[in-house]
């Protein structure tokens, strides 16, 4: 039989396996080899976190208690996916466009980037999810104890509280490890989603296996099962139309508003087209999950002793027939259902708590100090980790408090009705332009209060959190305030009663508030962007023309949130979009709008808006914008949106053209001047050589002069030779005729070689090198000598030009997505913006010849070398000093490694 130790070992092994899957998927995604990880199948399977332990164990219990009513929980989502597909599509489109990080962020972003609304939705979500998480802990704990009591030589029942505690602690660890590994701009967790998809398969296989065993192994075939069902009391259950409608409605609402569903459906969505597959595949999955629920319930009621908990039939039936292996599989299925729900819910809730509560508090605490935000990623990550721990702790304490006794289904329904309070705001926000933040605030507050009072608090039972007299007679004996019979509506099912009052009062307050209030400008703009999301780029940017923000300043801010690399890539792309490749982008309203959205992906819309406003203070909505978005002007604006887009396109093209023209002119001037340049470079050393040779021929020269002049002649001759070498080198490289010797080398050795070779440039100064030598141990397959030549050039440039005291050069080697990058960053004055586009051209020197001591071909040669090695070298703006990044592929593109030559 299955011992306690075996059970624990299986759990640990299973979780370990999930770790491996998540880790592997994360690595693949990092390397840009997502492949099938980004397939519609994985997306659909990840949606199955809708099926928690409540579904896995509870559906059978539900069927045993109330007949077919359990089907409503599946019918709601099926209706949404099949019939209301267009709502989902709009939701996903808006979510991706606005880079929404959570459902709280969605509401906040739609209604004027109001953080208060974000906080409200966060509180509702946490309150509603806590019992739900507790339910998962309870089901895992219960399933453990089944193995203790269900076996003849049963082991001692473990302390259930301890079991729940360890499960919660383990889940906290897993969630923190994979949910907060990095602060990605798009807030996606490839590892977690893949692990969840695997768990989805696991629970389906487990439930189907138990079902097959029950139908063919216990009952003896489908026809016998049908006969049993006919004969059982389940067939006699009267259908209550009111409850059916109510249950279908809340479960349909839940699939849209549950924080964890929003997380997998919208935030983790990588491709809108996946929704098309999910719209039929997900209902199919739900059908498969419910296929054997009734047979298991009916046979369980017949075969198992009276009083057995029907919530655990899935486990107890195989155990009763001594099928230990099958029971173990079922156990893992239930375990999967519980863990996947808890992990995703904790990630979703932690994102909300940190983005809407912790970060805004931190931001407020440093108001007035708009300057350098520093690296806040650490803070945000810490906030998320603590939030995850806190959310699981809440779930655990709810489990202790509620005694873990109520039937599973009841707890799930409490959560459903709770999160359904967000539905009016969500649907209103997507489809009704007049919906306002005041209305949403009033609606949420009303709905949440009614839910708390009429459903959540009474769920602890009479004498729990509400006294028995209060429930029976109302507060202070006021009859119409009885929690389960509000306004005299008595005799109704408590569930229906709660749905009816909480949602109708919620909607009433929402609509009234919206009609009576006038939305602010940001809100109106966002309303248009949400409601008209399919009409192209209809929304005006909420930033005015003269934003007053400096691109350099914004880059620093962005680096604090996204990290150096991410921020640079983003700024480069934006510069390219403006036709300014190689420079920082202009702080145009368009650019700031996109930057804000990008930051919103990391910290939420409200916080991102506030952060940018701190830097572009005077850009926040002017009177002119107020007029522009007032309803009259709005109509005109919409019709002229297309025109505006066209003219923006033209401006962009014109800018790109003039940039290209400038570059062409510069190039042709350079080509024209090339010969005269070469002439100049050759004649200059020859001039000294000739003049001093003539002087040396004179007999009456002082001996020390003779020595000195001979030295000059030698130096100039060397310079001449080097120039000729460089010219030849460059011409060979430019014509791609350079002989490359490709072999494996260690990057660390190559950097060492370059540092040694460059050490005779201004050797009198103590130059500090800041390296992470450990990170440099990367194998490269390339022409090592050529690569070293590039490194030498960059290092000696730094030694030559960096005038900081003390001069310092930071060398950072990294491997990411099949490429190796080596950054050389000094602490000097850097290269002025206007010169950055030219430094890689021939004969361009930043300072006078004497100081450069070369012909200005070094970087041009570097560029050609890197091009022939399949890589690149580029200037890295925004690093303080001069900074260059050398990028090379892990293995060369066309050339096969040749160890022989």
């Amino acid at each position: 039989m299955i011992s306690f130790n075996l059970l624990v070992a299986v759990c640990l092994a299973y979780v370990g396996f999930l770790f491996l899957i998540a880790f592997w998927a994360e690595r693949r995604a990092d390397q840009g080899r997502g492949g099938w990880l980004h397939s519609p199948a994985v997306y659909t399977l990840s949606l199955s976190i809708y099926c928690t332990a409540w579904t896995f164990y509870g559906a059978v219990g539900y069927a045993a208690r109330s007949g077919l009513e359990f089907v409503t929980i599946y019918l709601g989502p099926t209706l949404v996916f099949v019939g209301w597909w267009w709502i989902l599509r709009k939701l996903v489109r808006v979510g991706r466009r606005e880079r929404v990080t959570s459902i709280a962020d969605l509401i906040s972003a739609r209604f004027g980037k109001s953080n208060l609304l974000g906080v409200m939705v966060t509180v509702i979500s946490v309150a509603a999810s806590t019992p739900y998480i507790a339910l998962q802990l309870q089901s895992v704990t219960l399933s453990f104890s089944v193995f203790a009591t269900g076996t003849p030589q049963g082991w001692a029942l473990p302390d259930q509280r301890a079991t729940a505690f360890w499960v919660a602690a383990g889940l906290t660890l897993f969630t923190i490890l994979f949910g907060t590994r990095n602060l990605d701009a798009d807030e996606r967790h490839h590892g977690v989603v893949t692990a969840i998809a695997f768990e989805a398969v696991m629970k389906l296989v487990a439930l189907l296996s138990v079902g097959v065993f029950v139908v063919w192994g216990v009952a003896g075939g489908p026809s016998e099962v049908l006969a049993h069902i006919e004969a059982s009391q389940l067939a006699d259950w009267p259908m209550q139309p009111g409850r059916w409608v109510g249950l279908i409605f809340v479960s349909a609402a839940a699939i849209l508003t549950l924080p964890r569903m929003f997380q997998v459906m919208v935030v983790e969505n990588v491709d809108e087209a996946h929704l098309a597959t999910a719209s039929w595949a997900f209902p199919l999955y739900l059908m498969a999950m419910s296929l054997f629920v009734v047979p298991i319930a009916v046979i369980g009621l017949e075969v198992l002793p009276k009083g057995s908990n029907p919530d655990l039939f899935v486990l107890t039936l195989p155990l009763a027939y001594d099928r230990g292996g099958l029971a173990l599989l079922a156990f893992l299925g239930g375990f999967s259902s519980a863990t996947s729900m808890v992990i995703v819910a904790a990630i979703a809730l932690a994102t909300m708590v940190s983005n809407h509560i912790v970060v805004p508090l931190w931001l407020a605490s440093r108001r007035g100090r708009a300057g350098d935000a520093g690296d806040v990623r650490g803070l945000v990550l810490l906030a998320r980790r603590l939030s995850i721990a806190a959310i699981l702790a809440l779930g655990y304490f709810y489990y202790r408090l509620s005694g873990g006794s109520s039937a599973l289904a009841a707890i799930g329904l409490i959560a459903f009705v709770g999160v359904a309070q967000v539905l009016p705001a969500m649907i209103g926000g997507l489809f009704w332009r007049g919906a306002s933040s005041v209305g949403v605030g009033m609606g949420l507050l009303t709905g949440f209060s009614v839910w708390l009072y009429s459903f959540f608090l009474p769920s602890f039972g009479a004498g729990g959190l509400l006294s028995a007299t209060l429930i029976a007679e109302g507060p202070w004996g006021i009859g119409w305030l009885r929690p389960q019979a509000l306004f005299g509506l008595s005799g109704m099912d408590p569930l229906l009663h709660a749905i009816f009052w909480s949602l109708s009062l919620n909607i009433l307050a929402f609509v009234t508030g919206s009609l009576l209030s006038i939305p602010g400008p940001v809100e109106r703009i966002q309303a248009l962007a949400f409601v008209r999301v399919f009409d192209g780029d209809a929304a005006a940017p909420s930033w005015t023309r003269d934003s007053g923000a400096e691109a350099e300043e914004l880059l620093t801010l962005t680096q604090g949130f996204l990290g150096n690399d991410e921020a640079l890539v983003f700024f480069r792309t934006e510069a390219g979009r403006q036709g300014k490749a190689g420079f920082l982008p202009d702080a145009t309203p368009d650019f700031i709008e996109r930057l804000e959205r990008r930051l919103a992906g990391a910290v939420g819309a409200a916080t991102a808006h506030a952060m940018i406003a701190q830097h572009a203070g005077r850009a926040v909505i002017s009177a002119e914008d107020l007029l522009a978005v007032a309803s009259d002007a709005q109509q005109i604006m919409e019709s002229s949106a297309e025109l505006r887009q066209k003219s923006e396109e033209l401006t962009r093209t014109a800018r790109a053209l003039s940039e290209a023209n400038e570059k062409l002119t510069a190039l042709s001037v350079q080509k024209d001047a090339f010969l005269s340049q070469i002439s100049h470079e050759l004649r200059t050393p020859m001039t000294s050589i000739r003049a001093f040779s003539e002087i040396l021929a004179e007999p009456d020269l002082a001996p020390e002069d003779r020595v000195r002049f001979t030295g000059v002649i030698k130096d100039e001759a060397v310079r001449l030779t080097r120039l000729l070498d460089d010219l030849l080198d460059l011409s060979v490289l430019e014509n791609r005729k350079a002989q490359l010797t490709i072999r494996a080398a260690n990057l660390h050795d190559l950097i060492n070689r370059a540092l040694a070779a460059a050490s005779n440039t201004r050797p009198e100064r103590a130059f500090i090198f800041d390296r992470d030598q450990g990170a440099e141990f990367l194998p490269v397959i390339t022409d090592a000598d050529r690569l070293v030549q590039v490194f030498i050039n960059l290092v000696s440039n730094a030694r030559k030009y960096c005038d900081a005291d003390p001069p310092k050069l930071k060398i950072v080697a990294r491997r990411k997505a099949g490429r190796i990058t080596v950054d050389f960053i000094d602490n000097g004055a850097g290269i002025p913006k206007e010169a950055r586009g030219l430094i890689f051209e021939k004969f361009v020197r930043m300072t006078d010849t004497a100081r450069a001591g070369g012909a200005g071909l070094g970087l041009a040669i570097c560029r050609e070398i890197m091009a022939s090695l399949g890589g690149s070298v580029a200037y890295l703006p925004g690093q303080g000093g001069a900074a260059f990044r050398v990028t090379l592929p892990v293995r060369p593109l066309s050339v096969a490694p040749d160890s022989g030559s």
């Binding site: 002439s679 004649r683 001039t687 000294s688 003539e694 006078d848």
Partner: protein, 123 residues
């Protein structure tokens, strides 16, 4: 034997040193200035008898300096010897058009630069 004061605007230190050596031995009082941008101020302060001007200079080019000094009433008559390493024929015409008194390409014979200077100050 004092021949006069000459300002040598040349950023290549070795070339400047060679020219100074040659001219000093011939009796000239030579001042070297290596930067184009501040050359005019130096000229106004020093009031030399002749100017030897390189073309490729950091800051301001030799031609730009020439334009500026020809426009300056105090310096308009200053004799100027242009030195250039860009040895194209066009260059000579350009120098003449801008008011250079004499023109020499690098490299040069030491005797030629001495002769040119004497010619500049009319001896």
């Amino acid at each position: 034997m004092m021949t006069g004061r000459v300002l040598l605007i040349e950023d290549e230190a070795n070339i400047a040193e060679a020219i100074r050596f040659i001219l000093t031995r011939d009796g000239w009082d030579v001042t070297i200035h290596a930067d184009g941008a501040t050359a005019l101020d130096r000229l106004r302060a020093l009031r030399p008898d002749a100017l030897v001007l390189d073309v490729m200079l950091p800051g301001l080019s030799g031609y730009e300096i020439l334009d500026a000094l020809r426009a300056d009433s105090m310096l308009a008559d200053l004799p100027v010897l242009i030195l250039t390493a860009r040895g194209q024929e066009r260059e000579r015409e350009m120098a003449a058009a801008r008011g250079a008194t004499l023109f020499m390409t690098k490299p040069f014979a030491n005797a030629d630069i001495l002769a040119s200077l004497r010619q500049l100050v009319g001896r």
